[in-house]
C-alpha cells in the first residue's frame, strides 16, 4: 500500500526504495552498525563468562531490584517516546514537548540509578586500574580476589554497561535538543556543573561529567550553525535512537545482572 501511495508523489526524483525519508534510513543504518558494536560487547562478556572459572555473582537482591527499576524506567521512557511521536504527527506541540521531557526524566532516572549501582560496586572494591582509588574503604569479601583472578569481570561489566550508559546520556541530550532547542544548552551546562562538583574526586563520574560539557559545546555549535524548528520526522528519528537504547538493555539486564545474581 505504501509503495503504491509513493508513486503518486510528484517529483523529479525516483521513488524511495524503502518508502520513507532519508533521515530515517540514515538513522536505521546507524542503529544497525551500533547493533554490531553492542553485539560484539555482549559476545565478549559472554565469552569471558563461559571461559573463566570462578565468575563472580555479586548482584544481591538490592542490586537486582535497582536494575529492575532501571529497566522499568527505560520501558516507560519508550512508551512516553512513542506518545511524543504520536503528539508530533498530530501537530500537538505542547504534548510533544511534555512527552519528550517525560522521556528525558525517565532516562535521567535510569542514569542516576545506574550511577548509584556503579558507585556501590566501586566502593565495595570492584574497580578498574584506570579508576582512582577510593580512600579509606574496606574491600568486600567477594571482591578481594576478583581483580586478580577474574579481571575480565570488571573490564567487561564496566565496558558494556558504561557504553550503554553513554548511549543513554547522549540520548537524553539528543531529546533535550529536539524538545527545547537553544534553551537546553544552559540546562546542560548546569547539569554538567552539578555532576562535576557534586561527585567526589575519586568517582569516575567526576571526570565523566565532562561529556556533558563537550555535548553542550557541540550542540551549541550545531544549533548556532543550523537553527531550526524540529518537526515530526525529527522526533520520529530521535525516537528510533531512544528505542534502540531501550532494546539493548533488554539483553544486558538478563545476561549481566540476572545471570550473575547472588542467590542465597
Amino acid at each position: 500500500m505504501a509503495d503504491s501511495a509513493l508513486q503518486n508523489i510528484p517529483s523529479v526524483y525516483e521513488p524511495s526504495l524503502f518508502g520513507t525519508y532519508s533521515k530515517k534510513i540514515g538513522m536505521w543504518l546507524f542503529l544497525l552498525s551500533d547493533t554490531l558494536t553492542f553485539g560484539a560487547l555482549l559476545y565478549a562478556y559472554s565469552y569471558g563468562r563461559i571461559s573463566t572459572g570462578g565468575w563472580p555473582t555479586p548482584f544481591h537482591s538490592e542490586s537486582i531490584i535497582n536494575a529492575t527499576i532501571m529497566t522499568a524506567f527505560l520501558l516507560t521512557s519508550s512508551l512516553t517516546m512513542v506518545l511524543a511521536v504520536r503528539a508530533s504527527v498530530h501537530r500537538d506541540a505542547k504534548m510533544q514537548t511534555l512527552w519528550l521531557l517525560a522521556t528525558m526524566l525517565c532516562g535521567t532516572g535510569f542514569i542516576v540509578l545506574h550511577g548509584r549501582e556503579w558507585s556501590n560496586l566501586i566502593a565495595e572494591g570492584l574497580s578498574l586500574p584506570m579508576f582512582p582509588k577510593v580512600p579509606h574503604h574496606q574491600v568486600a569479601a567477594e571482591f578481594v580476589n576478583v581483580s586478580k583472578t577474574v579481571p575480565q569481570f570488571a573490564a567487561t561489566f564496566f565496558g558494556l554497561t558504561g557504553m550503554h550508559m553513554l548511549h543513554v546520556t547522549l540520548g537524553v541530550i539528543y531529546l533535550g535538543v529536539v524538545a527545547l532547542r537553544r534553551k537546553f544548552i544552559p540546562i546542560l551546562l548546569v547539569l554538567w556543573l552539578v555532576a562535576w562538583l557534586g561527585t567526589p574526586a575519586y568517582s569516575p563520574f567526576h571526570y565523566g561529567a565532562h561529556i556533558l560539557l563537550i555535548a553542550a559545546i557541540v550542540c551549541g555549535i550545531i544549533l548556532w550553525l543550523k537553527p531550526k524548528v524540529y518537526d515530526s520526522s525529527d522526533v520520529e528519528v530521535a525516537g528510533l535512537y531512544w528505542h534502540f537504547v531501550d532494546l539493548v538493555w533488554m539483553f544486558i539486564f538478563p545476561l549481566v545482572y540476572l545471570m550473575s545474581a547472588k542467590i542465597l
Binding site: A2, L36, I50, L83, E236, L247, M250, M259, I263
Partner: protein
C-alpha cells in the same frame, strides 16, 4: 528538507496518525510483565543453561515487540523490514560462528 522528502515525511506521519494509543500501552504492559517473569525466574534455582535459554527467549520477544511496534518497523515496506533485519541477523550469526566452539562448553561442561 526538499519537497520530495517532506512529502515522504508527511506520508509516514499519516501512517502514524492511524495507530491507536491503546496498542502502545498493551506493548508496554507486556514488556513489563516479561521483565517481572525474568526476575521471578532468576530466584527459582533453575539449571543455568535452562535459565539462560528462557531469559534469552524472553529478551528476543521483547526486542521484537520494541522493534515492531515502538520502532514502527512492522508498518514499514517489506524491503525495509527484510533488508534491515536480514543484514543485522547475518552479521550476528557470523559473530556466533566465531563464538560457537566455546559456547558449546555451556552444554558440555556447564556454566561456572
Amino acid at each position: 528538507m526538499d519537497t520530495f522528502q517532506q512529502a515522504l515525511a508527511e506520508q509516514v506521519a499519516e501512517q502514524h496518525r492511524h495507530h491507536g494509543k491503546a496498542l502502545f500501552f498493551y506493548v508496554w504492559g507486556a514488556l513489563l510483565v516479561m521483565t517481572a517473569i525474568e526476575v521471578y525466574l532468576t530466584y527459582q534455582h533453575m539449571q543455568p543453561v535452562k535459565m539462560l535459554t528462557i531469559l534469552l527467549g524472553l529478551s528476543f520477544i521483547k526486542a521484537a515487540l520494541i522493534i515492531g511496534y515502538f520502532m514502527h518497523l512492522k508498518y514499514e515496506v517489506s524491503r525495509m523490514k527484510w533488508l534491515t533485519m536480514c543484514s543485522v541477523v547475518a552479521c550476528l550469526i557470523l559473530m556466533t560462528i566465531f563464538f560457537f566452539p566455546d559456547a558449546r562448553r555451556i552444554l558440555e561442561l556447564g556454566v561456572k
